[in-house]
Each structure stands twice: as structure tokens, then as C-alpha cells.
Symmetry: C2
Subunit: 490 residues, 2 copies
């Protein structure tokens, strides 16, 4: 490959010595480097409050890469080449003068200059204003914002307002790493390239849709952060609503970034508002109490470090969401997320309506219904569940699972979500990033629930670590005569 076609960019990583950077961003950049070589002058600059020496930093990154990368991705030669692109620098977020440390490390040419804000969103404005004050935000600059952006509509609007003083909307990349997953993009192709799915993708044929994001970990060392966030802000407002948008959106006229984001926004506009009594009826708020996961004892949320012993913050949310439009009228979307659940997973189940009349002798159970099961974690896969004939005499019906998993077809590695998204930022493709109006509309829909919970004196429903959440979650579907997917499969 000619040097001129190699990836040329400067990337400044605020929070660059932090957890996300070490576990996800730097490994993703290393993987990107291995598939798409960097131009010799490409630079990655990790920013920390008190950054270690370059040598110590490189040692730490190397340790983390060896720890977090799949074994077959690591090789010492690539690492040594990759490390030449790495730098680190000390900046105190609130001291504009300290940003001058960046200047000698940035190139002066027209290459993409990416500022990645992997910090608390309350720091975004501060960082942007210092960068602006020093003239570092050139026309070729881009900024990547990590979620959650704000803690309600008002704070999100403030951040938007402040960012817009320094960046145009086309320079702002609000990242939601679920959108970077191969399988989420495959879902768009499946929906819009196949008449088989496109024709059935509406209330006539779909019974309901479930989306679950479960974690087995608790709040770990992030008790303080979690106390002011909770599951609704941490997962529902962004990841779950984004996945819902991808599933529910109308076909766009083309796949230009803004045409896709227009359609996602329309879904958010069509979400039936949850107000007043609807909230108690349609939303379950849970908090984990002591229990055990896979035989290992776990403490309750209020016993965690940094958490108030009287905290009513939710670590679990289940909700029934309706979309008031022609396509989805009457089709519930059940969303669920929680910490300290039995396993880490992200799964979407599209449940088709049952066949109107059953002619076979085999007893028809819930398992027999057609389903599209899309798994994003721990491994990505798409399974189409159909009915087929059981081999042999007679006409017994059994379930057949067809695997649409791209990973099982050929040995090509599926890019990590961050790897894909970082490449898109460098290339200037905003398709898989959240637009300001989407962000604000999501908060607009979430705000009444936040307010309701803040004003209530009733405690969350408690659930034991290692269970699938409080009884209310099961009841939410049982009222509609349905079950959560894992309830059916054990």
C-alpha cells in the first residue's frame, strides 16, 4: 500500500489514561492499525491530569493490550510499530494554559484532528473552551463525545449549546458504541435488502420486540458515578433507545448519514410519552440486593463503595414502550437492562405473530413461533428461528435455528465496535453517530420518568444479585401474556 493511502490523523484522547481508553480505545486503535496502516506521521496523544512518562505510559498500554486483545491479534513487531504513533501529555482540564502542552505534538497540515472526550460530560464545555481559546479547533477538527451526554434534557442542551460555540454539528461525533457493532449494521441490511423481512416488518406480522442489555458486574469502583447516573441515564437513554430506533425506523430513501438519522429521530418523536400513571404501569425500577452469581456471593447495591446506604438509584430498568405510528401501532417494545443479572448479554428478539391456524399434530408451544434473535454480547450473532419437519415418518414439527452470524462464515475477523467507529471519525462518516436532535429528543422522552422517580418516596423494587431482576419485570410481560426470552429458553 502506498504511504499516501495510509490513515493520516491526529487523535487527542482526553481521559486517555483512564479505564475506557485502556480497555477499549487503545486496543481498538491498535487493531485498526493492523488492518489499515497509519501514515508515518499519524499521532495518538493520550491526555491525563498527571500523565506518566512516555516510557511508563507505553508499558502500561502494552500490558493492557496483551491483557485485553485476543491472543492471535497481539504481535510484538506490530506493537513496536504502533507504539511509535503514541504520545502522552499532562493537561489539567480547567487550566487553559496547560493545553499548550498539546501544541508541539499537533501537526499543522489539513489532516483530521480528532479530539476524543472520554471524560465526565460536565467537563466537555471546559475542555472545548480551552481548545478554542488556544486556536486548536481548526476546520479539520472533530470532537467525539462519550455518553451519557448530560443528565437530562436541560444539561444536554447546555452541553450542545456550549459545544456549538466551538464545533459545527458536522464536527461533532456523539458515540454510542452499540451502533458500531457489525451486527447492528447487518440488521439494517437485513431489514432493507430483503423483501422477506421488509414485507413483514410491521404490526401485521410482528407480535412484539424485546431488547435486553444485561451485566453480571455491579457498579465496581464507579459507585459515585453511578449514584448520580443510574440505569435509565446510563443505558436506556442511549443504548436501548438507539437499538430501538434501528429496529423500528422507516426505510430511508438512501443511506446517507442524515437520511438514516432523520428516520431514527422520527421513531423518537413517535414514542408514546410515559407520563403520570403510565410510568408505574409501564416502567419497572429495580435495585440489586445481596445475592450470588454462579455460586459467588455478591453484596447489595447500597453496600457498594461510594453508594449511600439509603440510595434509591435504579440498577435495573424494564419498560414497555409503544410507538405511535402506522407501522408499529399495538406492538410493544420491551426494554430491559440491569446490573448483577445472571450473565452479560445484549440480545434483541423479534417475535413474529403466530401462524393463524395450526394444522399439525405437534403441540405448538411458544418455542415454535418464528423469531429473529440478534445477539450483540457476549458474541455477535443473528439467528432466524423457523419451524421445519422432524426427520422421519409422520409430520412432526420442530424448531430450526438458522445462523446468519457473519463471524461463522469465513475466518475474517469482525471489527470491534470502537475500531469501526474510530475509522468512521477519521473518514468523516457520521452515519453511526447520534445527532444533536436525536440526543435531545431521547432526553425529552426520558425526562418525565426521571422526574417521577426523583419525586417519589417509594423505594425501587429489590432483586437478588444473580436473578433476572425484580418480580415486576416478569409481571410487566405476564400482564400481556408474554415472557422474557430467557424465561422460555431457561
Amino acid at each position: 500500500m502506498k504511504e499516501s493511502s495510509n490513515l493520516l490523523f491526529d487523535l487527542v484522547l482526553f481521559g486517555g489514561t483512564g479505564d475506557l481508553s485502556m480497555r477499549k480505545l487503545l486496543p481498538a486503535l491498535y487493531q485498526l492499525y493492523r488492518t489499515t496502516p497509519f501514515h508515518a506521521s499519524t499521532r495518538i496523544i493520550a491526555v491525563g491530569r498527571t500523565a506518566p512518562s512516555k516510557e511508563a505510559f507505553l508499558h502500561r498500554v502494552q500490558d493492557k493490550l496483551e491483557q485485553h486483545l485476543p491472543q492471535d491479534s497481539w504481535d510484538t513487531v506490530s506493537w513496536q510499530q504502533f507504539a511509535k504513533h503514541l504520545n502522552c501529555v499532562s493537561i489539567e482540564a480547567d487550566k487553559t494554559e496547560s493545553y499548550r502542552n498539546l501544541i508541539p505534538l499537533l501537526s499543522e497540515d489539513q489532516r483530521p484532528r480528532v479530539f476524543y472526550f472520554s471524560t465526565h460530560s460536565s467537563l466537555y464545555a471546559t475542555i472545548a473552551s480551552s481548545l478554542g481559546a488556544l486556536g486548536l479547533i481548526t476546520p479539520c477538527a472533530r470532537v467525539v463525545l462519550e455518553k451519557p451526554i448530560g443528565r437530562d434534557l436541560n444539561t444536554a442542551r447546555n452541553i450542545s449549546g456550549q459545544m456549538s460555540n466551538y464545533f459545527t454539528e458536522s464536527q461533532i461525533y456523539r458515540i454510542d458504541h452499540y451502533l458500531g457493532k457489525e451486527t447492528v449494521q447487518n440488521l439494517l441490511v437485513l431489514r432493507f435488502a430483503n423483501p422477506l423481512f421488509e414485507s413483514l416488518w410491521n404490526h401485521h406480522y410482528i407480535d412484539h420486540i424485546q431488547i435486553t442489555i444485561s451485566e453480571s458486574i455491579g457498579v465496581e469502583s464507579r459507585g459515585e458515578f453511578y449514584e448520580e447516573t443510574g440505569a435509565l441515564r446510563d443505558i436506556v437513554q442511549n443504548h436501548l433507545l438507539q437499538l430501538l430506533c434501528i429496529l423500528a425506523m422507516e426505510p430511508p430513501p438512501n443511506i446517507e448519514p442524515d437520511r438514516i438519522r432523520d428516520e431514527k429521530l422520527k421513531v423518537l418523536y413517535a414514542l408514546k410519552p410515559l407520563l403520570g400513571d403510565d410510568i408505574a404501569r409501564s416502567v419497572v425500577r429495580g435495585q440489586y440486593s445481596a445475592g450470588a452469581i454462579k455460586g459467588k456471593d455478591c453484596i447489595g447495591y447500597t453496600e457498594e463503595e461510594g453508594v449511600s446506604e439509603h440510595s434509591t438509584i435504579e440498577t435495573f430498568v424494564a419498560m414497555k414502550v409503544m410507538i405511535d405510528n402506522m407501522r408499529w401501532s399495538g406492538v410493544p417494545f420491551y426494554l430491559r437492562t440491569g446490573k448483577r443479572l445472571p450473565s452479560r448479554s445484549c440480545e434483541i428478539v423479534v417475535q413474529f405473530k403466530e401462524i393463524p391456524h395450526w394444522i399439525f399434530d405437534t403441540v405448538r408451544g411458544q418455542l415454535m413461533s418464528n423469531q429473529l434473535v440478534i445477539t450483540l454480547q457476549p458474541d455477535e450473532s443473528i439467528t432466524l428461528r423457523l419451524c421445519g419437519k422432524r426427520l422421519g415418518p409422520g409430520m412432526d414439527v420442530r424448531t430450526v435455528d438458522l445462523n446468519l452470524n457473519p463471524n461463522s462464515r469465513g475466518n475474517k475477523r469482525s471489527a470491534d465496535a470502537y475500531e469501526r467507529l474510530l475509522l468512521d471519525v477519521v473518514k468523516g462518516d457520521q452515519t453511526l453517530f447520534v445527532r444533536q436532535d436525536e440526543l435531545e429528543q431521547a432526553w425529552h422522552w426520558i425526562d418525565p420518568i426521571l422526574l417521577d422517580w426523583e419525586s417519589t418516596t417509594s423505594p425501587p423494587e429489590y432483586y437478588a444479585c444473580g436473578s433476572w431482576g425484580p418480580a415486576g419485570s416478569t409481571l410487566l410481560l405476564a400482564k400481556d401474556g408474554r415472557l422474557w426470552h430467557e424465561g422460555a429458553t431457561g
Copy 2:
């Protein structure tokens, strides 16, 4: 297993020393024996004009089994046990007295007594009348009739009339071994157990359907038989129309044999008649001329033994069939069969309509359309062809083939069609057998084409051995802007 639950029957195989018996029926019975043990007194009696000694007969059967069975199906112990059930006997079809040879071999209890007529259909009435004269057709008797039954509506009706003097309709099993194939029955389950397919199985979503039965062999030693038969009678009137009925039938209210056969009959009633000029427009009549298949020279049909050098008998038929009902209006069914084509295959292609609007950058080719491809020969399989995302950055679309093949799931052997159907005869299940009214309606629809061809002076279209038939066949679809399936895949 208790002896009482073992299969108890007497089976008399007319034409029992012939080709079909040796290649198909006896191997199928042996396989059936291995999966479903026979009662000790179950008897299989092969009838021949001049049957060999029992010893010589067993030797011949053993040779054929070893030759035609898959290697892992053959074992000497099973064979020796199975051979104890075998007998052979000499009967001259037109000499009633000779049928007395059967009497000592038949049991007198109420077990199913199956007469299998694997002879030319002109002998059916003769055999039935001799069996009747000797009182061998008891209430527990059944008769299996091989196709083609008759050579037009009139002769088929005659045979029906004669058979009905000795057997009730519930005793008559008109066999079409394509219906015994696992995959054909699976098709019923796929259609009627899956809303995903059931909802789309109509003119709104299906563009057209192709059914091909191709052979690479010529007429072999059966030149004389073929001269008075031809492809229309040999394959189209039975196999192709039966497969069309299974594909096109309305959902029955249940899977009782007559409810399924009612629905198949309704399809035959709805076939748009091919009359007058329609025949030339919609039906292609071909005959093979000298050529080569896989590098091996083949002679033309008129050079075959037993064939007139001026013969205009068709060895190839392609036709466009329309079904005049609410479900299928405007959807062509293209049927095709021929000898000396490049390979032996039986394939059904259900081609769904294209997605109305294509939003992806990938160029959409014919290959990208959704298809259900059902293969019955040489191996059985069902493949659902969808579009998915090509792994990697961007949104490239590629074709993904999902395999619904029952054989690839677990190691359970799929029963041979004859094995399944013989078991059904013994059990008294007529689901997969053709009813008299179906047979006659199929001939009713075929007759005008036969008459037209008999009255024409124009020769058939010639095609070289090893080609996919005459140019007219390609043209038949090209006029509609379509291609035969192998044209797309090479």
C-alpha cells in the same frame, strides 16, 4: 420392541424381478426393515413372468442391494434376517390360473395385503381381475399403482373404472415417489407452520416459481416404452404437476389425507388451460440430438435402440403455467424436464419479488433477490437465500445462503422416498398418494397438449445432448425478462 408392534404385512410385488423393484423397492424394503423391524411372519413376494429359483433370486437381490445401498447401510446379519421374509413366484399376467401360485404364500389373517403393480399400466386391469377371480382381494388388501397411469384421460379413466371393480378408492395407492421425499413433506411444514413464509406465499411477494427435473441419461434400454410415452406423460403429468400442487395449494384445515388432496385437486382445477395458440406460446417440445455430456459423446434420440428414426416424441418439455386463482394470479410457474441434460437434478426455485427500492451502494444483481431453493435430487436440501452485510467497514451487501437441510442437522438418515411410502401403505396413510380425481384432472389438463402435438407436422426443437434444452426454453423465460436458475449460477 415387542413382536406385536413389529410391522406385519404381506407384500406382493408384480414386476418384482424388474428394474424398479431391484433398484428401488427391494432396497427400500431392506432399509425399512432395518429401522422398523418386521414381524416374523411378514412376507415379501416378488412376482415375475418366469421367476428364478428362490436361491438365485436372493443372490440377485443381495447383489443389487450391495450395489445400490449406501455402504454404511449394508450389513450381512441384517441381510440374512431380511432375506427370510423374501420369496419369489412365477405368474403369467394373463393366465389367471398361474395366480394360484400366490395362495400358499399369503397369510389368512387380517394383516395388510399389499399388491404392488410395478408393471406397464396396460396390465393393471388384467392383474386385478385375476386376483379378484381367485378371491385374493380381501378387505385388508391394498394396491399400489406405479405411474404413468394411462396415457391420456380416457385410458386413465378406463383403468380407474376397472380397478374400482375390485378395489375401493381407500384401497388404491397411486404412488408418485417425489411426494415421498423428506424435503417435499418439509415444504408443507415450512409453508404452513411458519408465518414468515405463509404470509409471503402469494402473488404480492412471489415473482415466479421454477421447477426442473433433469436427467443426464437418455432412454437407455427403454426406447420402445419411451416412444409411446414421451416426457409430457412420463414426468410432467405426474411429478411436475404434483410438485406444483404442493407448492401452490391453499392451507388445508388439517392434515388429514383427503383434506390435503382436496387442496391439491383445487390447484389442478385452477390451472389455466393451455389450448390452441397458447400451446405454441407456452410449451416447448424438444428432442435431444447427438452431443456430449462431460466430455462423453452421446447419440441422438432417433439413433437410440427401439426408437423410430423419424420419431417426433419429446424428450424435453418446458412450459409456463399460470394458476387462475386469487393467490397466484400473475405468477408464472415455469416447469421443465428433459433427458440428456447436463446433470441429474430436481430443483424448485421460489423467487421472491425484488425489494421495491434499493438503498445500498452495492449493485443489485439477480443474485441478490431472496430465493427459497429446494433441491430433491441428487441430494435433498432447502436453502434460503437472503442478503446480509459483508463483514467490514461500509455497508456492502452480499448473498447469504441459509441451509435448512434436515440431513445436515444431526446424523439421522433421511428415509428414501419409497421406504417412506411403503411404510405409509402398510400403515394405511394415503396422504402422499394421488387420488383418482387428481389423476384424472391432471390428464384433463394435459390432454389438449398431447392432442396438439399428435396432430402437428412440425418437428420438435432439437437440442444437443449436454445442453439445457432447446433455445425455445431459454426464450420462454427471456420473453418475460427472466432466466432459468442455472443460467444465473453457471
